[in-house]
Symmetry: C2
């Protein structure tokens, strides 16, 4: 995954004080600051009304800028949309991926990745996930916005598969575990959490997601490791 | 589930000759015929561009009617959208729910329900599912369209839970099986199938869905039934 950040500002640090990776602090040029502020506003708008709802005009009004002022930073609406997808990806990594790296390699890290993902999906119950809404908006449209979205999601699924592979290598999961299948099933649970909590407002969706993930881990757990783990915690 | 049909016409009968429930055939009034034709066109449009993309104007153009002609059948855009949701639900039931009732009660019927659902989701890979796109469009909006959508999906999830309960009652699934949890996990798999096949274009999504469902069934299978089943098919 690409660790470079673009516009992650201090205000994005999670309240619990987890470290957020950002580029070495150096003052942004004025132009970059404005561009970041526009992307920030656009991201807020996109999580509420969708990427397709973004328009240079609406953004100019929101930023108290002229349309040509916004155009000076983004040559087109499409370029603005792609920048929003990239910024969303950076924040997703900062909240879900990087904090999990401090957990020990193997099953603990895989659990941390899923926990952070669940956590973010729960938070988004009040704001929206552009990986999910964007997939609907762009499923039938070719072009750079769709490509940027699909590349982000594919990179994340690859990171999950890699984490499953490490858990196998560490002897925590059974050698026969299919990383692709496990990542697919984890993705399925998050999609259902989002759908059932956000749209159907089923209050037990988070508990169901947790329970299903636990079942998934248990099915693939290396029996020898489970015994050692039980002894260690006894 | 509500078995009444509204506009299911002979042309909706599946090509493989499965029976489609429809009301006792009697000639529709001219006004009803027109209404049905409008709903049919609106449903086609909604599966491509979303329920929110529907407008009386676009529909009037598509139907070679005046806007006031369409308005005569649907007092508002919202009423049209609700009619589309109901029609979608009727077709979903006709393709997914009713054909499964011919499978023996218990695990065979549960399998048939999931198979038909997977089948429909695969077909929709070229057209779109308004239960999924509509959930995104209406997640933050109150009102009758959202209510109609959520009621349809909840009715379907209740039917799945009921089918799990019957499989437990028949001794096919373990008595400890939690129907709500199993329905949640089946829903999760269909959402992932839709996302990964349709948006990410992963060609193995159907195989992964099938494999995960098989795992789900095996985990909950009543050990005694599995032995009897194996003997019977030996």
């Amino acid at each position: 995954m690409n660790a470079s950040t673009r516009c992650v500002l201090p205000s994005d640090a999670p309240a619990d004080g987890r470290a957020v990776r950002r580029r070495a602090i150096k003052p942004l040029q004025k132009g970059q600051q404005t561009r970041c502020a526009i992307v920030e506003a656009a991201l807020g708008l996109a999580t509420q009304i969708g990427l397709e709802g973004l328009s240079i005009g609406a953004l100019a009004a929101l930023m108290h800028m002229s349309k040509s002022g916004v155009f000076a930073h983004f040559g087109s609406r499409e370029e603005l949309q792609v920048s929003v997808v990239r910024e969303y990806h950076v924040r997703f990594e900062a909240e879900v991926f990087y904090p999990a790296l401090s957990a020990p390699r193997g099953l603990p890290r895989l659990r941390a990745l899923f926990d952070n993902w669940m956590q973010r999906t729960s938070v988004e119950i009040d704001s929206g996930c552009i990986y999910i809404s964007g997939a609907i908006e762009f499923e039938e449209r070719a072009g750079p916005v769709r490509e940027a979205l699909a590349a982000s999601v594919n990179a994340w699924l690859a990171a999950l598969r890699h984490a499953v592979g490490l858990a196998v290598a560490q002897g925590h999961l059974d050698a026969a575990t299919d990383g692709e299948q496990m990542a697919f099933e984890m993705h399925a649970l998050i999609l259902a959490l989002h759908y059932e909590a956000r749209f159907l407002r089923h209050h037990d969706a988070l508990r169901r997601t947790r329970s299903a993930f636990e079942g998934l881990v248990q099915r693939h757990a290396n029996a020898a490791f489970v015994r050692v783990d039980a002894l260690a915690s006894a």
